[in-house]
Amino acid sequence: MSTQKCRHGCLHTLFCIFLRVLRRLHLISRNFYRRYCSCGLKLVAISFNHDSASLSGDAMNIRKNFTQTVAVPEWTAGETLPADSPAAYAINETQGRTITIKAKFIVSSNSVTKAQVRARGGGVLGQLDPQTITLANGVSVPEFLSFELRDHLIGADGINVEDITWEWEFRCCGGSKWEPLATTRHRIYVVLEEPKLPWKQQPASDTQIPWTEALDYACVWAAGQQNQVDAATAITKQINANLGLVYDNVSGAPFYEPQPLCDKFELTQFLAYLTNGTGLGNIVNCMDCATITTTFSNLVGCDLHASKMGSGFALTPFRGIGSAVFACPGFGCSFSYHEVAWTGGHGNADPLFDACLRVDGDTNPWGPPHSEIFCVNIPFSTNPGAPLPLAVPFNAQSYKERLCTNDAAGIGSCNPIGPWPSSSNGRRPVK
């Protein structure tokens, strides 16, 4: 690459156009062209989350996991894997706003003061339009230059995770030909809106900042979903049907909320289970399912909380997580309590999501044949004060009536309670 002084002006531009024609005719070498019509511009860093106080004009605060942060700038020269350069965007907060990234450049010659830069590709973030940058003393001015994401598609496909590639190009020294600058790869997460508790955005160094290792799963499970109900539905179904989890039929004990307080969610252990089948294993109870559903749903912008019902009620057969058939648990046809991912104020009319089991969805949920439905976005009870037993056919899409026996010991004894006192209002912090 040329290190001699760059020339400027119209004559030099014409000279470079002439050299470019000669280059196209293979009458001069690439190095010869670069010697007179190029400069040693280098891309050294890209920052997606350049304002940790905001998530409307840039990426949100994220970290890799409980112990590892994501350094900003997220990309520095030498990084080649998309996962090593992650960024996450919230559809709701960025909608209609100008979104920018920032990039830093250096040049080998202090005499170079201008250059043009663009990037092709970019997937969901789109290409970067050509932009003239200023350099002084070999470094871009300001050090990190803003590039507006004019062609981004954030929100077009709903929740998403995508590995993108930018092919950066530049031209300077009057050169008329775009030349390769760098190829950068990034993992881009798109969620509905700012993640809800237990996830936080502030302080930026907090361990409850969204983890990319959790986003890697949540954004796949809820891929393409455009609203909170559909996202929570997709995540609930995924947990119930596709993760290999099975119900603790012998005691109904929690595994992923540490005793005795059950005040946290062992997300690090659960991710280990998802990744390699270890962690605390695949046996779960309702508290686990409610907490997993809440944590992953809220990560993509839903607003659920784990909340109890009870206490002590009789069950009609259901299809427990990991089971192939409708039956009572191995410990009998009653729950001491039950916990689900609930919306609103966990009242009778508030819809809930229960990944722990599927209920009978037909007109007689208290007897065979059983026609299963996922418990997604289903009100706890549409008619909580109705005299018992309820009449058949029963057509209401109402949760507790389909979970409990049709009598005072079942439906009559199952009522909303609220979150466990030590559970941070049903949004257990992750660890």
């Binding site: 109904g252 004990a253 005793q259 005795p260 005040d263 410990f331 001491s336 309590y337």
Partner: protein, 174 residues
């Protein structure tokens, strides 16, 4: 209904379910003043090896809570939580704290499956104990199989109980 009232009433119901007042504050050996401190599982025992150990947040009833992830041949994963409680009585109250989080309204006593460990012990439903919770002195142990399959944790529970008893007996004067 108030949340506080609900929790207290629920706790009392759980105690009744487990006949708490029949066994609370009783020990089979020594007395209710026995207090074992610094009990830990060895990295490797005769029937298990510890692959991960983590201190958990105690409540006001415990001095220390430690969770061990153990592996037992051929490839069983067993989650064991050791609660070092402030007294025998607090160990028994902690047992209630823990079973309150179980969805099963009641667990069978271990004697029902011929398992004799601890001062008080509850197993799991079914032909074999896939989980066990027992208190020995002020130490509460919760042992759960994290690997599906009908393999009992009885031998593991006996090994843990034996370690507790050994520590107790070797620290007795005379």
């Amino acid at each position: 209904m108030s949340e506080k009232f609900s929790e207290e009433a629920y706790r009392e119901r759980v105690k009744q379910n487990y006949d708490f007042y029949q066994w609370a504050n009783h020990t089979k050996e020594g007395d209710s003043n026995v207090r074992i401190t610094g009990f830990v599982l060895p990295p490797a025992g005769t029937i298990f090896s510890v692959v991960e150990k983590e201190d958990l947040s105690p409540s006001s009833r415990q001095d220390r809570v430690t969770r061990y992830i153990c592996e037992s041949p051929p490839s069983r994963r067993i989650i064991t939580t050791i609660f070092e409680c402030k007294s025998v009585n607090e160990a028994h109250e902690t047992l209630i704290d823990v079973v309150m989080t179980y969805m099963a309204p009641k667990l069978p006593k271990c004697e029902a499956t011929n398992l004799t460990v601890g001062d008080i012990c509850f197993g799991s439903h079914g032909d074999q104990n896939l989980s066990v919770i027992f208190a020995r002195f002020n130490i509460l142990s919760e042992i759960k199989s994290a690997t599906p399959g009908p393999t009992s944790v009885d031998e593991f529970a006996k090994a843990v109980d034996s370690l507790i008893l050994t520590q107790y007996r070797t620290t007795q004067p005379g």
